[in-house]
C-alpha cells in the first residue's frame, strides 16, 4: 500500500477499502519503524495526525471529499503549522510552536490531507545535504551512509522510504529538485509566485518557492492543484486563474522540442549521470520528441550570483531571530547587545552564520554596487538566456545534480564543493522558472540519478506531461530502496 500512487489511494478511500485513519496508521507505523535510522522527521504527533484523519473520514462519509481527501502528507518544517513545533531545522526555533498556519498548510488542510508530521531540513533551508540541521543529519534511504540532499532532505527521504505518500518542500536554489534526485523521487519547483510564501519561513524571498515531492509526476500534479493559487497575504503571489495541472498528462510527446543546454553536459558532470540523462533523451526521442541544442551561457555565473543574492536577502530575513519575542534566547547576557550576540551565536549553526556574514558584507556601504547590484544585473542576463532558449524549445532537459548522493561528512568541510551541487538547479530559481526532477537511473553504487526539466513560466502542465509520459515508458520512479522493511 505504501507504494501506491495518490490516485490509487484516493480510489481506495472512496471505495471505503481503507479509511483515512487506517491509511495514516500505515504510514505512522512505517515512520515509527524507519525514522530512527533515517531521521527524516523532526516532529511526529500521531494523535494529531489521527484526529485530522478522522476529520477526513467524516468528509469522505459525507460525500464531501476532494481528490486528495484522506491521503496523509508530510510537511517540511519550514511551514508554520498551527499548534505544531516549527523549527526550520534550527536551534533558534527549537522551542517555537507556530500560532498560525502557512497558506500551503491551510490549502492542504482544506484539501482534507492529514499531516504526518514535520520533516527535517537543512537549517533555514541552507544546505545541499541536510547535514546542517540542528536536529541531526537525514540519511539517504538508498544507503544510510549517504546524504539525501538538501535542504528538503527529510521530505525527500520520507517519500523515498515510503514513510509518507507525499511531502511538501521548498526550493531556493534546488532544495526540492536536488534531494528528489538524490533519493529517486519526483519533485517540482513551480514558477515563482505560483504558490504563496505566506507562513513559509523566508530564506531568500525572491527565490523561495514551495512545491510538491512525491513518487511520480502524476502525484505531483495532483498536489500542485492543491497548493497553488493567489494569496492576498503574499504580495509576490500571482493573480491568475486556477489551472488543472493534470490536464495534459496524457498528451503524446510528438513534436516536443527538448532543449539540451550544452553547458549542462560539460566539465564537472559525473559520467554515470551523463549516461543516464542521455538515455532519458533517447527514450523521449522514442516518444516523439526532438532534441535541440541550446546555450545558457551565463548560467556558469549562477553560483556566484546566487551566493551574493541569497545570503543578502537571508542576512536581512534572519534578523528577526533576535531572542526578543520568540525562539531561543541565550541564558546569560550582560546587556542588550550581549543578548543579541550570544543568542545569535548560540542559536544559529555555522552555515547560517556564514551566509549572514556574506550577506551583510555584500550589502554593506561601499560593496553594494560591486556585489549586490552586479549580481542583480547578471541575474537578468541568466533569465534572458532562458527566454532566448525557449524560442527554440518547449522544455529544457539536463541533469539535476552533477553527481549522485555523496557520503555523510564528505563535503561538509568544503562549502564551495557543497555549493557546486546546485550548479544546474540554481539558474531556474534566479530566472523564476519552474523546474522538476525525476528519477532516470542508478549509478554503480545503486544510488538514484535525477533528470531535470526546466519549463517556461507557467508551463508546469507541459513539464508534468513530459515527465508523466517518460514515467509511463520507464519504471525508474517505481523502484523502492531495498533493505527497508
Amino acid at each position: 500500500m505504501s507504494d501506491a500512487s495518490l490516485s490509487t489511494l484516493a480510489a481506495q478511500l472512496a471505495a471505503k477499502q481503507v479509511s483515512s485513519r487506517e491509511l495514516a496508521q500505515v504510514y505512522l507505523d512505517r515512520i515509527a519503524a524507519l525514522n530512527p535510522a533515517i531521521n527524516a522527521f523532526i516532529t511526529v504527533d500521531p494523535d494529531k495526525t489521527l484526529l485530522e484523519a478522522a476529520g477526513a473520514d467524516v468528509r469522505i462519509a459525507a460525500g464531501n471529499a476532494g481528490p486528495l481527501t484522506g491521503i496523509p502528507v508530510a510537511h517540511k518544517d519550514i511551514f508554520c503549522t498551527d499548534g505544531w513545533l516549527t523549527t526550520c531545522g534550527s536551534k533558534m526555533l527549537s522551542n517555537f510552536v507556530a500560532p498560525y498556519d502557512a497558506t500551503v498548510i491551510e490549502r492542504f488542510k482544506a484539501a482534507g490531507m492529514p499531516s504526518l508530521g514535520k520533516t527535517n531540513m537543512d537549517e533555514f533551508a541552507m544546505g545541499s545535504s541536510n547535514e546542517t540541521s540542528y536536529f541531526g543529519a537525514v540519511k539517504n534511504p538508498w544507503n544510510l551512509a549517504y546524504v539525501p540532499g538538501g535542504s528538503s532532505g527529510g521530505a525527500a527521504a520520507c517519500v523515498a522510504a515510503r514513510m509518507a505518500p507525499a511531502a511538501t518542500g521548498t526550493d531556493t536554489g534546488g532544495s526540492i529538485r536536488q534531494p528528489a534526485a538524490l533519493t529517486g523521487i519526483t519533485g517540482l519547483k513551480p514558477t515563482y509566485g505560483l504558490v504563496s510564501r505566506y507562513g513559509m519561513i523566508a530564506f531568500a524571498s525572491s527565490l523561495d518557492q514551495a512545491g510538491p515531492m512525491a513518487l511520480s509526476a502524476e502525484d505531483c500534479a495532483l498536489l500542485l492543484n492543491a497548493m497553488t493559487g493567489f494569496d492576498p497575504r503574499d504580495s509576490t503571489s500571482l493573480e491568475r486563474e486556477k489551472e488543472d495541472y493534470t490536464r495534459d498528462l496524457e498528451k503524446p510527446l510528438a513534436g516536443l522540442r527538448v532543449g539540451l543546454p550544452r553547458e549542462f553536459f560539460a566539465e564537472g558532470l559525473n559520467n554515470e549521470v551523463a549516461a543516464a540523462v542521455e538515455a532519458a533523451v533517447a527514450e523521449l526521442k522514442k516518444l516523439g520528441a526532438t532534441p535541440v541544442e541550446i546555450s545558457l551561457a551565463n548560467s556558469k555565473l549562477a553560483i556566484p550570483v546566487y551566493y551574493v543574492l541569497a545570503p543578502a536577502e537571508a542576512s536581512s530575513n534572519l534578523s528577526r531571530f533576535d531572542g526578543v519575542r520568540y525562539g531561543y534566547r541565550a541564558p546569560d547576557y550582560a546587556n542588550l547587545d550581549d543578548m543579541y550576540c550570544k543568542t545569535r551565536a548560540q542559536g544559529f549553526g555555522a552555515e547560517v552564520k556564514r551566509r549572514i556574514l556574506i550577506g551583510a558584507y555584500v550589502l554593506s556601504h561601499g560593496y553594494y554596487d560591486a556585489y549586490y547590484l552586479q549580481a542583480q544585473k547578471i541575474r537578468r542576463l541568466i533569465a534572458d538566456d532562458f527566454s532566448e532558449a525557449f524560442k527554440t524549445c518547449d522544455v529544457i532537459l539536463g541533469p539535476t545534480a552533477p553527481g549522485t548522493a555523496f557520503k555523510l561528512g564528505e563535503k561538509s568541510d568544503d562549502p564551495v564543493e557543497m555549493y557546486l551541487n546546485d550548479l544546474y538547479t540554481i539558474p531556474a530559481n534566479l530566472a523564476g522558472l519552474p523546474g522538476m526532477s525525476l528519477p532516470c537511473g542508478f549509478d554503480a553504487k545503486g544510488l538514484p540519478i535525477g533528470l531535470q526539466l526546466v519549463g517556461n513560466y507557467f508551463s508546469e502542465a507541459k513539464m508534468l506531461n513530459v515527465a508523466h509520459q517518460y514515467q509511463r515508458a520507464t519504471n525508474w520512479h517505481a523502484h523502492a530502496p531495498e533493505g527497508l522493511k
Binding site: 511551514f79 523566508a202 492576498p232 536581512s316 534572519l318 533576535d322 520568540y326
Partner: protein, 475 residues
C-alpha cells in the same frame, strides 16, 4: 565674524489611515500595549507585508499638493538594524526611489514671503516603543505603533533662521492636516521634526558641518533647540573648536542639546530593495482621481479670499491657518456678505474667546452661521459694535440664536428719530454746563453729552444718529 545659519528639516508625519502600512492592524492611539500588534507586526516567522493603498494615496495627495514629481514607479527598501522595538530587524522604507521628489512650500516670515524647496517625501513604517520605566531594570516593548504608516518629508537646507524653520514646519503642519493625510497631533507623535543645523561664515559657499536634532514634537521646542544649537555651534567655532557631524537630542528642561551618537557610531543600514514587496506603480487614473478629490489648497484659498472678500494678504494667511478656520471664516462671510467684518470678528473677538477658553475652532460654541447672522445685524443697523459684543457673549453661553438674544435681552439699537430726539433734548436740558462748555470751544464736552445720551438709552442708542442729532441741536 558674521555667521549664517543653515537649516533643513526632516518631518515624520503619521498618515491618517485606519490600518497599518503593511498589515490590517488598527493604528488607533492609546490602546493597551501590544493589543494592536498582529502576527505581521510582531514579525512572526513566515509572515509577509502587504501594502496599504490608503498610505500610498496619502503620499500622492501630498505630492500633488506641493507640486512635486510623483515617481510612477517607486520602491520599498529594507533599512537593517537591530533594536528591540523593531521586530523584523529592519524597517521598510524608501531610499533610492521615493514616491515624491521635489515640490515646494510657501512660508511667510515677518511679512516676507519665501519659498522652501523640498527634496523628497517617502513612505515608511514606524517602529514600536521601548518603555524603560516601570519594569524594574527591564525594558517593556509595545508594538502597537510598529507598522504605523509614516511619510518622511525632507526639505532642502534652505532655511536661514529658527523663525524660518518654524514657519516652514507650521506651513507643512497646516498642509498635511489640510489635505487630511495627518491628524497633526504633535503630543501623540503624529508630526515629529528632525532639524539639521549648521552654521557658516556669511559669504561662504560650502555648508558647515551639520548636527541633527532628533524628534522635536512642538514648534516651541523646534525654535528653542535651533537657537541653542546655533549659539553652541558659533561659540564652539569662535573658540577655535570644530563641529563633528552628530545626532543630538534636545532637553526641554535644560533648553540644551546633547550628543546622542557621533558619525563614527552611525549604522551601516545595508539598504536593499525589499523582495517581499513589488515596486509601487502609480497609474495616471489613480493620480487623477486623487487630484480631483483634493480640497482647495491654502495658497489658492488665500488668493481667493483676497479677491473675493477683500481681506489683506496677512489676514488671508491667518484665516487659512487651518482648514477648519478657513471653512469657518468662509461660512460666516457668506452668511453676512461682509468679508472684512467677518475676518475682523473671526480673528478678533472669536479668536480671543477661543484662546481664553483653550478651545480649537472646531469646538467653538459659536457656530459660523451664528457669527454670520450677528454680523448681518451689525450691518443692517440693528446692533452697534458694542451691543454686538453682548450678543456674542449670549451666543457663547448658548443662550439661543442672534435675534432671540437681541429680543430677550432688549439689545436692539434705538434708531427711532422721535425717541432719540426726546432723549437728546432731556440730556441737553439736564446738562446746561456741558452745553456751555461746548459752545465755549471744549470738544470734550461733546463726548460727555454723547455719553449721557448713551447712558440714558441704556447703551442702545444708535451712536451715529446720536452724533448727528447732537450736532444739529447745538449749532
Amino acid at each position: 565674524m558674521k555667521w549664517e545659519t543653515v537649516i533643513g528639516l526632516e518631518v515624520h508625519t503619521q498618515l491618517a489611515t485606519k490600518s497599518k502600512i503593511f498589515s490590517g492592524s488598527s493604528t488607533a492611539f492609546g490602546a493597551a500595549p501590544n493589543t494592536q500588534a498582529s502576527a505581521v507586526d510582531i514579525a512572526l516567522p513566515g509572515v509577509l507585508p502587504v501594502l496599504n493603498r490608503g498610505a500610498v494615496e496619502c503620499a500622492i495627495k501630498f505630492g500633488l499638493a506641493i507640486g512635486a514629481t510623483l515617481n510612477r514607479v517607486n520602491v520599498f527598501d529594507r533599512k537593517n538594524y537591530f533594536y528591540p522595538d523593531l521586530p523584523k530587524g529592519y524597517q521598510i522604507s524608501q531610499l533610492a526611489k521615493p514616491i515624491v521628489e521635489g515640490g515646494a512650500l510657501k512660508i511667510i516670515v515677518e511679512g516676507e514671503e519665501k519659498t522652501v524647496n523640498l527634496t523628497r517625501a517617502h513612505m515608511e513604517e514606524d517602529a514600536g516603543k521601548s518603555l524603560h520605566e516601570d519594569f524594574h531594570g527591564m525594558t517593556g516593548i509595545d508594538l502597537n505603533r510598529a507598522g504605523t504608516p509614516l511619510l518622511e518629508i525632507v526639505s532642502e537646507p534652505e532655511m536661514r533662521s529658527s523663525a524660518e524653520a518654524v514657519a516652514y514646519a507650521r506651513a507643512l503642519h497646516t498642509l498635511v492636516t489640510w489635505i487630511g493625510i495627518c491628524d497633526g497631533n504633535m503630543q501623540e507623535g503624529s508630526f515629529r521634526v528632525d532639524a539639521n543645523v549648521s552654521v557658516r561664515p556669511v559669504g561662504q559657499a560650502e555648508f558647515g558641518t551639520r548636527r541633527e536634532i532628533k524628534n522635536l514634537n512642538s514648534f516651541k521646542f523646534l525654535q528653542q533647540a535651533i537657537d541653542y544649537e546655533v549659539r553652541w555651534q558659533i561659540e564652539t567655532l569662535e573658540d577655535g573648536g570644530r563641529i563633528e557631524q552628530a545626532t543630538v537630542l534636545f532637553d526641554p528642561d535644560s533648553g540644551e542639546t546633547r550628543m546622542m551618537r557621533s558619525k563614527e557610531d552611525a549604522h551601516d543600514y545595508r539598504y536593499f530593495p525589499d523582495p517581499d514587496l513589488l515596486p509601487v506603480k502609480l497609474d495616471e487614473d489613480w493620480i487623477e482621481r486623487v487630484r480631483a478629490a483634493l480640497p482647495e489648497l491654502p495658497v489658492a484659498m488665500q488668493a481667493r479670499f483676497q479677491a473675493e472678500y477683500g481681506v489683506s494678504a496677512y489676514d488671508a494667511a491667518v484665516l487659512t491657518g487651518s482648514r477648519a478656520l478657513a471653512d469657518y471664516f468662509e461660512t460666516a462671510a457668506r452668511a453676512c456678505g461682509q468679508g472684512k467684518l467677518a475676518a475682523n470678528w473671526v480673528m478678533g473677538e472669536l479668536s480671543a474667546a477661543l484662546n481664553k477658553a483653550e478651545l480649537g475652532i472646531a469646538s467653538s460654541p459659536v457656530s459660523a452661521a451664528q457669527l454670520g447672522a450677528l454680523i448681518a445685524r451689525i450691518q443692517d443697523g440693528t446692533l452697534s459694535g458694542k451691543l454686538a459684543k453682548q450678543v456674542f457673549e449670549g451666543l457663547w453661553e448658548g443662550a439661543g440664536e442672534v435675534d432671540a438674544i437681541i429680543e430677550a435681552r432688549g439689545l436692539k439699537q434705538m434708531s427711532d428719530a422721535g425717541e432719540l430726539e426726546k432723549i437728546v433734548d432731556e440730556v441737553l436740558a439736564a446738562n446746561p454746563k456741558s452745553v456751555e462748555e461746548f459752545r465755549a470751544g471744549k470738544d470734550k464736552a461733546f463726548n460727555a453729552l454723547i455719553g449721557q445720551v448713551m447712558k440714558a438709552s441704556k447703551g442702545k442708542a444708535n451712536p451715529a444718529q446720536v452724533n448727528d442729532l447732537l450736532k444739529t441741536r447745538l449749532q
